[in-house]
């Protein structure tokens, strides 16, 4: 098949860019362990309120500057409604849904994951700056979806 020399050049450059992007993604996955939140842990969505640790949602201190935060998302609120952590803390969030699909997003940070009934989502973040962060549900969950929010205060 005849391919124009200029098209050959164009396609070579285009492919080169794609290969570069693919290499960057792959390298950051292998070297830095950077992958999207992909926890594979199932949970019975009808028994979230009785299943530890989600029967007592909230913040747990693991070590100095390291926390685990267990959240239950249900229409149209998050439990806990607010957590407070010292600046510089690394917080690992574990979230599950007691009803429908929700989102779990803290704008202006990298914290963002889907919350699917039947599964536990997990995402970690180090909070360097002080302030009050808005935590919102960013997947439509029903009539009161726009009121579904919580707070993360970094002291």
């Amino acid at each position: 098949m005849h391919v124009h020399p200029q098209e050959r050049l164009w396609m070579t450059v285009g492919l080169g860019i794609l290969v570069l992007f693919a290499a960057i993604i792959t390298t950051s996955a292998i070297v830095d362990g950077f992958v999207p939140p992909s926890r594979v842990q199932s949970i019975d969505p009808t028994k979230v309120a009785q299943t530890p640790p989600f029967d007592h949602p909230g913040l747990r201190k693991i070590a100095d500057g390291a926390y685990e935060a267990y959240y239950v998302a249900r229409i149209f609120s998050f439990a806990p409604a607010e957590i407070r952590v010292p600046a510089g803390s690394r917080v690992t969030f574990y979230v599950t849904s007691a009803d429908v699909e929700h989102g779990f997003s803290i704008p202006a940070t990298g914290v963002n994951t889907m919350v699917t009934p039947g599964w536990v989502s997990s995402v970690s973040h180090t909070f360097k700056d002080r302030g009050t962060f808005l935590l919102v549900c960013n997947e439509y969950c029903g009539a009161g979806h726009h009121t579904m929010a919580a707070k993360v205060t970094v002291e």
């Binding site: 396609m11 992909s38 969505p45 429908v100 889907m114």
Partner: protein, 561 residues
């Protein structure tokens, strides 16, 4: 005797010529039904879209009897699933019927159209009545009324009937014109419809879970599995739109300036690549889903980069078409070529303005696929900005521009208010540029999508994106005005009924005579379809098995609206 034979064969030719003309008119009527349905749906969808912009900018609060989420469901379903699908099935019927002229029955085509229409009306009634505020992604365990799922299924099954009609016509051509190449527009139509059938298997599989569950026959649903089935379909859906637009870019746009298709073989190759690579990529919509391992997500990232390749080829081919035609007319130099193009013809200007938007849409798509960046924008307004600058940009502008050529060609009428038509495509371009820029920006600030009011009771973080929402509402208003102009021209052409002196037609550009014929293997569409199924299985067998193997608890359905 010899004279008598001559006369009778002449009469026969005349009679068959008449039958051919009648058959063509019958086909045109069928295509016109598709195009006008798409036009009407676009009008309703645009009105809802404008009101959503007002709601998010806090200009209005939608009343409880017609709440934001009901309207958002209607907007998404009508624009993404109905407008696009009706236009594309109409366009492909036109492409196949015109390039394979024969005396044919349009019965199968009408059965397909009517099935699509009944499905659409059924689903639309349920949405407007508030029984299906589940948005166009209908994620379980949000549970809509069974009629909504049934309507959506009928819409899909109707497209299968249309596809069957097109395949039968292409098969007839291959049988009669043994050895001849399938005409390029018919090839593109058949290739896209094969891709579409493979893609819609996902949504049909999902419906087989959702329908019995919504009827109460099954108690719970595997939410992860339905999401995977949906996005198996959801991304090739995007390529269905794009392949419809590319068909116009490759074959109709060059005809507006007497140009030629840059390369017939490379065009066929690009479409075969789109057929193969559109499906095994859907997990890039589920990067942030729990229950799907990072390895599978990585695999789909790589295949998604691959599906950019035929788009790179298309970009080269289209711009080469422009330049070669301009050079033939003795025009040289970048700016002179740009100026030479028929910017005052809406059939050209619509798609061409869409191409400009698609440059940015394509960049955004690569960003979204790179999952380290997707984490920052997932489910934010950035995504809404992205699909408005893609399906609402190149795809819709191309379909609208082509409609200005199609309606006169199908009705023999002069286009009503051609200056309004021209102003319309530019107005849309400006409105969409403003709106999608504001949406992308709001998304970078973290503004969530699919949310009626993003002020969060005056929370500090929410104040940062308020002005972008105002700009999005302004852009949305300009687009809604533009759609009104489109409807005036499209319906005015029919109602005013000014017969054209010379019957207008929508021409397909011939292929460049310099190019060597395409390898015959590219026309073996059935086999390419089997390869495409193989690739889809390779990409999805693992993730689906993972869903089924993990203890997949079933979730009861809920109506949370």
């Amino acid at each position: 005797m010899a004279v008598a034979t001559k006369i009778s064969s002449g009469a026969l030719a005349e009679r068959s010529g008449q039958e051919l003309a009648l058959s063509r008119a019958a086909g045109d009527l069928l295509v016109l039904a598709h195009v006008y349905t798409a036009t009407l749906v676009l009008g309703i969808g645009a009105l809802f879209g404008m009101l959503q912009g007002f709601s998010r900018a806090n200009f209005i609060v939608m009343p409880p009897w017609f709440d934001y989420y009901r309207m958002l469901t209607a907007h998404g379903v009508l624009m993404a699933l109905v407008f696009t699908t009706f236009f594309i099935t109409g366009l492909f019927t036109f492409a196949v019927y015109r390039t394979i002229p024969r005396i044919r029955s349009t019965r199968l085509g009408w059965i397909g159209y009517c099935t699509m229409l009944v499905g659409t009306v059924t689903a639309a009634i349920e949405i407007l009545a508030g029984n299906a505020s589940v948005l166009y992604t209908f994620y379980a365990p949000l549970k809509a009324s069974p009629l909504f799922y049934l309507g959506a299924t009928l819409l899909v099954l109707g497209t299968w009937v249309v596809a069957a009609d097109l395949f039968l016509n292409v098969a007839w051509f291959k049988r009669v014109e043994r050895g001849a190449r399938i005409p390029l527009p018919a090839f593109m139509a058949a290739c896209t419809m094969i891709m579409w059938i493979i893609a819609t298997l996902g949504v049909v599989a999902e419906m087989l879970l959702l329908l019995p569950w919504s009827l109460g026959w099954t108690a719970g649903i595997d939410v992860g599995l339905t999401r995977m089935f949906f996005w198996y379909f959801g991304h090739p859906l995007v390529y269905f739109w794009i392949m419809g637009a590319y068909t116009i870019w490759y074959t109709v746009v060059p005809a507006t300036f007497k140009g030629r298709v840059f390369s017939d073989p490379l065009t066929r190759l690009a479409f075969v690549m789109l057929l193969l690579l559109s499906t095994p990529v859907g997990l890039h919509h589920q990067y942030l889903d729990p229950g799907v391992s990072a390895g599978w997500k990585w695999l789909h990232t790589m295949t998604t980069y691959g599906v950019a390749i035929p788009s790179f080829m298309t970009a080269f081919a289209i711009f080469a078409t422009f330049e070669i035609a301009a050079r033939r007319a003795g025009v040289r130099g970048f700016l002179n070529v740009v100026r030479w193009l028929p910017w005052r013809d809406p059939v050209f200007a619509g798609p061409a303005l869409g191409m400009i938007l698609f440059i940015f849409g394509g960049f955004g798509g690569i960003v979204n696929n790179s999952y380290s960046m997707d984490v920052l924008v997932h489910n934010t307004m950035w995504i809404v900005g992205h699909f408005h600058i893609t399906v609402g940009g190149p795809v819709a502008l191309t379909f609208i521009g082509a409609t200005y050529g199609l309606i006169p060609a199908l009705t023999g009428r002069q286009l009503f208010a051609p200056k309004l038509a021209l102003a319309q495509v530019y107005t849309w371009f400006v409105g969409m540029a403003i709106m999608s820029t504001a949406m992308h920006w709001a998304g970078l600030l973290g503004s969530p999508r699919r949310t009626s009011d993003v002020s969060y009771f005056g929370a500090q973080g929410a104040a940062t994106w308020h002005w972008q929402m105002v700009w999005a509402a302004i852009g949305g208003t300009i687009i809604a005005i533009s759609v009104l102009m489109f409807i005036v021209v499209a319906t005015g052409t029919y109602v005013v009924n000014r017969k054209a002196a010379v019957r207008p037609d929508l021409e397909f550009a011939p292929a460049d005579d310099q190019a060597a014929p395409a390898p015959a293997v590219l026309d073996r569409l059935g086999r390419w379809g089997l390869v495409a199924i193989g690739l889809a299985v390779l990409a999805y067998a693992g993730p689906v098995a993972q869903q089924i193997q993990a203890h997949a608890y079933l979730a009861p359905g809920m109506r949370t609206w």
